[in-house]
Symmetry: C2
DNA sequence: GCGATGATTGATACGAGGTATCACTGATGC
DNA sequence: GCATCAGTGATACCTCGTATCAATCATCGC
């Protein structure tokens, strides 16, 4: 999880200004739990609606945020470490999100490309389930 | 692609009535291209907004429609043959959608489950690219 | 047939989540 | 100093739904 300065550095490095509005959005994001909606950021950042959405989009484009697609189709955002393209495992009970280390469908993409003739450019892949701690009561585990 | 009578039969078989409003929605769907939004159905079916959305949801639940997640997060719908759970390959240029024969991440799901302890209950998986015909101009192919 | 019951409908309001406009502000470059 | 352009935010607007609720329709027991 990058610190404020790291994110601001990444913005400046790409020619974007670090303005008060952007800093407000960044602070709101850093104060949020592991994943959040743009609306939640809105409520905490002293910045206009359009600016919040623009900033979130910008951070996604720069690879500083990743988008987490929930099972019901809602979109959340999440700070991204230095990681590249990857996918998520979302606990539908407690909301915990686990980044999956890498993209496990690379082989599948190649197979599909040769089977269908498509030039495959991207994909969505998200998994949903119940995490270990949410399952524990089930199992009548220790204690 | 099921015909009107087949869909109506499926509704009746599960205890749902085939009403004029539902028939109007079905006809609008059958007149649409391979995938469509609920809004497009709205514009063609003489039926109230709520009814259109309710009917589309019902058809999804009954397995008569499948949901196609576009790259930008929008949701389209598509008539489903007798197929089960599967995924899509969407051409981002012409919009063509190809149903993938089966779910190719079953093995991955099992691996993930044992690696993470999650009980994995579902997933989203959609691929985006350019289909063969949309690529052809690229390649200076035959003719 | 008759009334009770439950399914279905559509007008309408509401809500989330996001984009388009556009006049304005504030840095930057010269 | 002035032109230019990135950034801003109020606001209107849009899509894609869901909630409400009174009206209607079909069915069923009698
Ligand atoms: Mn992530
Ligand atoms: Mn399909
Ligand atoms: Zn959990
Ligand atoms: Zn195509």
């Amino acid at each position: 999880m990058p610190a404020l300065e790291a994110i601001e550095g990444a913005l400046e490095a790409r020619g974007y200004r670090v303005t008060p509005a952007r800093r407000a959005v960044l602070q709101a994001i850093l104060s949020r739990p592991e994943h959040f909606t743009a609306e939640e950021v809105m409520r905490r950042a002293r910045a206009g609606r359009a600016t919040v959405f623009r900033t979130v989009r910008l951070l996604c484009e720069l690879g500083l945020l990743c988008r987490v697609l929930l099972e019901d189709g809602r979109l959340h955002y999440r700070l991204l470490g230095p990681r590249r393209h990857h996918h998520h495992l979302v606990c539908v009970e407690c909301g915990r999100v686990q980044d999956l280390e890498e993209c496990a469908v690379g082989g599948l993409v190649r197979e599909l490309a040769s089977a269908t003739g498509y030039e495959i450019q991207g994909h969505w892949l998200e998994f949903y389930g119940r995490c270990l701690s949410c399952r524990e009561p089930d199992q009548g585990g220790v204690r």
